[in-house]
């Protein structure tokens, strides 16, 4: 039963990934990418890594792809098609395909013994959070710092100064997650777009 679901979702993930890179319309690509993420989440769930599956949906399919779509929609539907006949692009593609094939064949060939079995709760929330808050605590906190720096940078770049207030008190956004900056930026963009119609 599990094998059936694995092949179904695995095939769906591969097909939707292929469709993501072959669609001309950027919005269609983005939706196929969401579909791909959802299939991968289903694969996580089959491995009884429920926590990872939910994170995959919540963060990738939910939050990140919404911002992708926001950017695509603000830039508008582009009419001109991307040139794909450029020989450098083709060469780069062939090279990376060869590289990926070599790495994958080496990887598959190097595992003679089957992987050791893991406990059923391996990808569950308790197992993940315990490792994250003990063994990898430093790296975890460092990631938090990195994200905070990114937020501050994004807010700094996205703020619009009121006319005649150069050097005046800039809008300060505190205690936000990485979604904050993008969302504040997009909401101000919405207002900006609204002006001609108001």
């Amino acid at each position: 039963m599990e094998a059936v679901f694995f092949y179904v979702f695995g095939t769906l993930a591969v097909i939707s990934a292929l469709l993501t890179v072959t669609r001309r319309d950027a919005v269609a690509s983005a939706f196929w990418l969401i579909f791909c993420f959802l299939s991968v989440a289903a694969l996580f769930a089959l491995l009884s890594a429920h926590f990872m599956a939910i994170l995959q949906i919540l963060l990738y399919a939910g939050a990140i792809m919404v911002f992708f779509l926001f950017v695509i929609m603000f830039l508008g539907k582009s009419q001109d098609r991307v040139k794909t006949s450029d020989w450098r692009v083709v060469a780069l593609g062939v090279l990376s395909l060869i590289g990926a094939t070599v790495v994958l064949t080496r990887l598959v060939g190097s595992t003679h013994a089957p992987f050791p079995a893991v406990a059923d709760s391996y990808g569950g929330i308790e197992a993940v959070s315990e490792v994250l808050l003990t063994k990898y605590l430093f790296a975890f906190e460092l990631t938090g710092l990195l994200l905070t720096a990114a937020v501050i940078g994004a807010v700094y770049l996205a703020r619009r100064e009121a006319p005649g207030s150069r050097g005046a008190k800039a809008p300060v956004v505190r205690g936000l997650t990485s979604q904050a900056a993008t969302s504040t930026a997009s909401s101000s963009a919405v207002q900006h777009e609204d002006v001609p119609h108001a």
Binding site: M1, F51, S186, V190, D194
Partner: protein, 346 residues
Amino acid sequence: MHETLSNLPLLSGLPAQVLVVLAMVSAGGIILGCIAVGGMFFIWSERKVAGYIQSRYGPMYVGGWHGVLQSLADGVKLLLKEDIWPEKADKPLWRMAPLLVFLGAFLSFVVLPFGPNFVGANLDIGLFYVMATSSLVVMGVISAGWGSNNKWALYGALRGAAQVISYEIPLGLALLPVVMSTGSLNLGTIIQAQAGWIHNWHLLNPLFFVSFWIYVISSLAEVNRVPFDLPETESELVSGYHTEYTGMKFAFFFLGEYADMFVVSAIGVTVFLGGWYSGIPALDVPALFPLIFILKSFFLVFVQIWLRWTLPRLRVDQLMYVCWKVFIPIALANLLLYGVIRTVLS
């Protein structure tokens, strides 16, 4: 559930795989039926409450008593309506949108705990799962707005996405102190921590009380209800992201909205209002659990309806201000305070 099915006389001979699929299909069918009937009831009660608040009757004729079958008649009407689509719509996206919106609400029902043994899937991370499925609704809203090829629909969709994504943060932060206190994301475990007399309900803990109000207000924004119905403001955006939809496609948006209202209410009941417990130990018999749970959820749905017909709507900037500069700081402070108190006390 497939074990239960295998005990039925007619199905006992079937192989396990068939039974699992059968169990999935029948569970899905039951949930779908409940959403459809519940949705019709909510729409009828919304119109009756609106009528009462505005000193009029609301639907009175269809179905005899106070127009109870009005929603059924409307459903039939929507089924029979001509399906019109915009000439230049992005067809696949446009068709998919109502299904995605409905799917987001539908999937959440799987983990709602109507009783200790009356839950579709008793997931370890039920609370987290509900938040993830509700983010699928955003996808539906965006694809509706983009696929319609209509500027009002697109504005509505962009507003809706920005709003839902922003308010997910205070929503999650408001639930976290309770999760810290129960040490579990399983909805059943959270309810069991509130057994006994009413003072065990999380609502009556001062810090959780703050969380509860943040949760209720943010959940209004999550389901795009007044005073946060900016994605559909009829005075400026015609009808927002579902402007171009008619017939059954529109009905799916509508049904999805009411199912979502029930889901956020049920989660509120689970986390703060004692779930299936009545607050009086003598009344806590297993047979009454689903009834108590549903009645409490209906009450919160009623509050949402009540607010809709009482309050004006916010502006876009006020909406973002409330979220980022009021709710998130309060929720973070609340979370920190709870953590400190818990550490000091233990």
